[in-house]
Symmetry: D2
Subunit: 424 residues, 4 copies
């Protein structure tokens, strides 16, 4: 059987091809592209990729680099330092508006050019100013899962007309938002925007955000969870410039567009999406890209606020094995252990108390234990122990290291279900 997904994506491309919009003209080199290219790629949080159209066509990343470089700045400088220099409020203004906070000059958010120039400057090491761009290229390559290059021809073309970015960089320098040479920051930023990508690359980058910062193909943790959270929040409120509210309610996918025609979206925990079509609307966003996102969101119920009832429980199975003093209640858990689904395990154990002298909590199928899940599992084990029940933790992958449940109590840890039963 062939997967129906690629066919579906091809249908979406066909339905969304309408030839309206115009090529970006403010960067001379961008006016020379083939206006009819159209591509769409999806990457699931597990790393499965689906593509259709010109998905190996190469174009420059432009503003889609912004959320990732912001993430890099957060990783390198920490939240406090970055938030002190770049706010996170929607500007209600177009992408090239100046949008600085009155008095302080702090850019309103990292998705407008002022914020992106500042994020670029924050990445630079004070003692080796020219290295930021190489670090950024390496980051984007790691996100894409392959080496990416800079299109120097596009960069040079943009440098000739980028008066507005020079203006903004000088304003920021005047406010001492950064202390680097404004011309150097602009030159680095323009090269950052000129990294060559395909929709497959972009979908992989978006997919990395969707899977909590782990590149879904290579498995490398590129961003920490708090950074992913921050980047996605900013994309949700500021990614689509002056139509934040309309985009979030209609499409419901944190997103970011670039003036070369690229567009990415992230559905946390589920999907990274990327589209490419170089004809733009008046906001500088790909017309057909937006149409494809609308279609995907509507057809596939991909809306941030339309979350499925999360795995009703992390409890995959509850079963009693053996009898009498050997009787053990097996609680088999699965998925990410977070608040809601652990609450349901606790709720189940409270509602229908354990009647066997032993309980085995099996984490074999668990993917991640979030801090809240850890605290709740430990508390559950502690309370079972207080009730006189012997608890065994099956944790072959070490998902719950150092299980100190409090009051000096630690459950016994084993590697597989057979062990405890065999050991008895």
């Amino acid at each position: 059987m062939r997967s129906p997904l690629p066919d579906y994506l091809t249908e979406v491309l066909d339905a969304c091809t309408d030839g309206s919009g115009t090529l970006a003209d403010y960067i001379p080199e961008l006016a020379n592209v083939d206006p009819d290219r159209f591509a769409l790629s999806l990457v699931t949080a597990e790393g499965t990729t689906y593509s259709a159209g010109d998905d190996n066509h190469v174009f420059t990343i432009q503003s889609i680099s912004k959320p990732f470089v912001y993430g890099l700045a957060l990783e390198k400088r920490g939240f406090e330092a970055v938030l002190g220099k770049i706010d996170v409020e929607p500007s209600g203004e177009a992408f090239n508006e100046i949008s600085l906070e009155r008095d302080s000059g702090r850019p309103l958010n990292p998705m407008i050019n002022a914020g992106a120039l500042t994020a670029h400057a924050l990445v630079a090491d004070a003692d080796s100013p020219g290295t930021a761009i190489e670090e950024i290229r390496a980051l984007l390559s790691a996100l894409a899962g392959r080496e990416l290059d800079i299109d120097e021809k596009v960069a040079a073309s943009e440098m000739q007309t980028t008066y507005r970015n020079v203006a903004i960089a000088n304003l920021l320098r005047g406010y001492e938002i950064f202390c680097d040479d404004p011309d150097e920051v602009v030159a680095g930023y323009v090269r950052q925007c000129s990294v060559d990508v395909t929709t497959t690359d972009l979908a992989m980058m978006a997919g990395t955000l969707a899977s909590g910062g782990i590149q879904p193909r290579t498995g490398v943790q590129i961003f920490s969870r708090p950074v992913v959270r921050q980047v996605l929040s900013v994309m949700a409120t500021c990614g689509m410039y002056d139509a934040a509210g309309d985009w979030l309610s209609t499409i419901g996918i944190p997103a970011k567009s670039g003036v070369s025609g690229g567009l990415i979206g992230v559905l946390p925990g589920q999907l990274g999406i990327a589209a490419y079509s170089p004809r733009l609307d008046e906001h500088g966003t790909s017309v057909q890209g937006v149409a494809a996102f609308e279609r995907l969101s509507r057809d596939m119920n991909l809306h941030l606020m339309d979350a499925p009832m999360v795995a009703h429980s992390a409890l995959r199975r509850r079963q009693v094995y053996g009898e009498g003093s050997d009787a053990v209640t097996l609680l088999e858990l699965e998925g990410d252990i977070q608040f809601t689904n652990t609450e349901q395990i606790v709720h189940a154990v409270v509602d229908e108390p354990v009647t066997t002298p032993h309980v085995a909590i099996d984490l074999t199928l668990v993917r991640t234990v979030l801090p809240v899940g850890r605290r709740m599992l430990l508390e559950l084990m502690r309370r079972l122990h207080v009730d006189g029940i012997d608890v065994v933790l099956i944790d072959p992958d070490g998902d719950l290291p150092d299980p100190d449940a409090g009051n000096g109590y630690r459950p016994r840890v084993v590697r597989c279900l057979e062990e405890p039963r065999e050991s008895r």
Copy 2:
């Protein structure tokens, strides 16, 4: 075993009690409340309730009524009519700013007073203007799961000082955003804000939004999914007035506050949350309420962008029963059937093709089949059928009615797993 949740909530209340902030004084009656009341309630999407503190203390709902009345307007008038009168863009302004669209006078969003007055007017039937308030009281009662009353003393108190709302209503009338008498709209709106609630009521209202519009206790579908999506989107971008970006990135919970000290939050698919503490910050939001939300979000990883990797698959179990020409591959599904988890079933079947002549797809444990899930399941069945495999659908609850897979093919539908095997 006792659930640890109430203890945890009590801890949160203790940790967040700091006595700062001041009582609202612009409504005389609100200045007379006990400033030290503090309550916190959670309702899961399944309807389990946890509370701590003064959770049966009664206060007026105030602006927390806004998202629900907006939802009611959407249900009664449809999206087009409502969006034509109220936009959905963040205003970047305080709650009592006027925030009308230049020229048209359209309120920027339904969370500011101008939008809320318009939503109230939209609920009214042209031919019986006075009935909106009763309809709204009934809605809020249905959401809370009990009859709620209007505190006429607070309403009367507010009517004496509500010059600003009278001003806004007259501006809206001047722009013909509505054609009702401005004084009547204000009088109705003030009574809407004076409905008496507890945090348990509010958490239940929020929980209804969390569970896709279904009141989690009564099971009544109060809002359709598209309306829930819209209401939550607007809460996410406009619910916290001039700090939308900061709130979404730090707390990450679509929320709405009221000037009497209430605060609700909704984590789609997971939780409804409500807090109450009447001391307010300079935005008119409960100081301790915000602190409690911050603590909950941080401790419990309750952040919209921190979605757990959604149920890696809706495929609970894949197992082969029988042999030879009777061999059947059972695909047991669970949870909400949406895009991501169905994609994983399809992916599994493509990767490891079915080798038995029969396939049984079991929906017994399924909760809801979203449209995208329906389309994908039908396409899966069609493709299996094309490959010459006999498909049986186990659907005791009718989750997939009228299973027309296209090209005239319909799988056989049965009520339980035994049937197909017995029937063979």
Copy 3:
């Protein structure tokens, strides 16, 4: 000989008739007027009137009442009280914009509706709230030099649609800019706007401002000079709403328009001008009225910044009479004695010293002695006295009462030139 002025004004009317613009429609009654009426009136600071066209056609004064009621508020409450409630900054906004100062709610200036409503409320006596309108009608009558009436039909018509003014009055009440009932203030203000006038009346009102607050026909001092200064300053910067800079540089006449089609202008010390034509441009200003003002300003060099070199000197004549110890230098002054022209007298006396033992300073032809002129004349006389010269002041009208020159010196005062010579 007939004056050429009326012919000239008729020419201007002919040249400026073009039939473009539309009648005001927001006050129903104003939509019923004859759109082709056109009138132009001038009043010099001496009270000479020139008119052309429909100069006895009656229309409602509307916003042209604003500067005069502002002046009345200044006279009654004093500068400090009024400035505390109404600022004087241009709003850069249309006439019906709300334009309140952030936080305080203080209207930006008295020419926008918010400021005009506040000025109206300031005129009211706290203990007899309904009397403001009668006081205002009496003021406007005194300015026009005849009894004016209120067109109650227009007032009633406007009351039906004046939602925006009700809105603004409620906002102001909410900010405690005034404490009167908002509906009463609006009702009074609407009647203030409905006072019936002709262009001759309006030109006389403008002429009163041109001649320093003295009604040029009746000679009554209606406004003090500081109030006139303030009213004209505000007309210059705020009178033409969002085109203040363009109007002042192109036309150069402090002005105020009304939505019924009236338009007044004041050239301080020179002229009051009024036009009427009810077809309006998009700012709510008379199209043909503006054209006539442009034509008058260009043709007649009526531009505030194009001031003539002021009377090179107040010294009309310097002549020596008699010989020897009887010789007297007569200094005959004329006009308004202010700084520039008195400086020239002093300059002349310094340059070409008095060589006679007597000096006679003749104020017979002087119109007004401003405080600065008084100080300079007294100082001149003191210094002549110190130089051993005998000074006589000819002041038949008492223009320089109590001429204490300092150091105990007072010049001898006589009523006519003959006296001193006869007395010797």
Copy 4:
């Protein structure tokens, strides 16, 4: 006798010395000046100069160059070209705000930096870009009546920190408001701001505007009257940045301040004023300079709206000479012949008709005949002629060249009063 004016100015300086305010620090070199310098100079429209304090202390002109360079741009490029690039509306914003018109990028007025940079660029000849600064230095020298130099040390100091001007120039270049290299425009503008002046120089520059564009000492016509009108209008509405309304109503003198501590004011037809004191308020304006202006305006009735009743008439004398058929009515005129005072002559002749067969109109004491005065005098002579009266024009200075009164009639022109009588 010594003039009391210098003593008065010294009194003003003493009264206004209070030592508050702080030195400009954003240009490093400006922070090194003596904070206690204080000077005040007046120049009358006739060129008389009065000074007090440190009136020969040299400082850089800074923003006070703006109105003059704007005037130069108007002279060189014409009104249409300049208005197309720089609007004339008050910005309501601080001096260093960006204040560009939405969409077009046109600076709101020539008194903010964006407008001043544009005016500087407009002065440049396209084919020799570096020459603008020399042309500007020459203009300022002509206005001062002596050669002025550029303080290259201050210019170099400012160039190091002028990020904001570089930013604004790049924005303007991006909008194609000008097409010069932004860095070159900034370098030229910074040198323009660094021209060295004293208060005497500045008062002479202001006096040139006061006397209709004629340098009062050298008699050179530097600006045409329409340019003077435009420059003064813009100073009145935009010269004091965000306090235009307050300044105009309180002080009433079109003015411009500079960050080095200079301040000029112009009372059209009367006076140019300059002050210097380097301690600044929060608007970047000299604290003691403002205090001196307030004092002068109050003491000396120097308020634009407080115009004296202009020379009641241009008619200095009306006298009948001779008898019978030789009888001639002499009308001796004086001052500037503009509308108001000529109207009074006409009015007088209409009121009290000429009864002699001859009329002599004597322009010997006339300074300037404005176009409106010319038209009115010619019409007066034409109407006298039509009434059968013989008209002779005494015009020794050629103030009324080519006196074509219409219908082929031209009065006889002679050089002095004796001529006509002698000739008969």
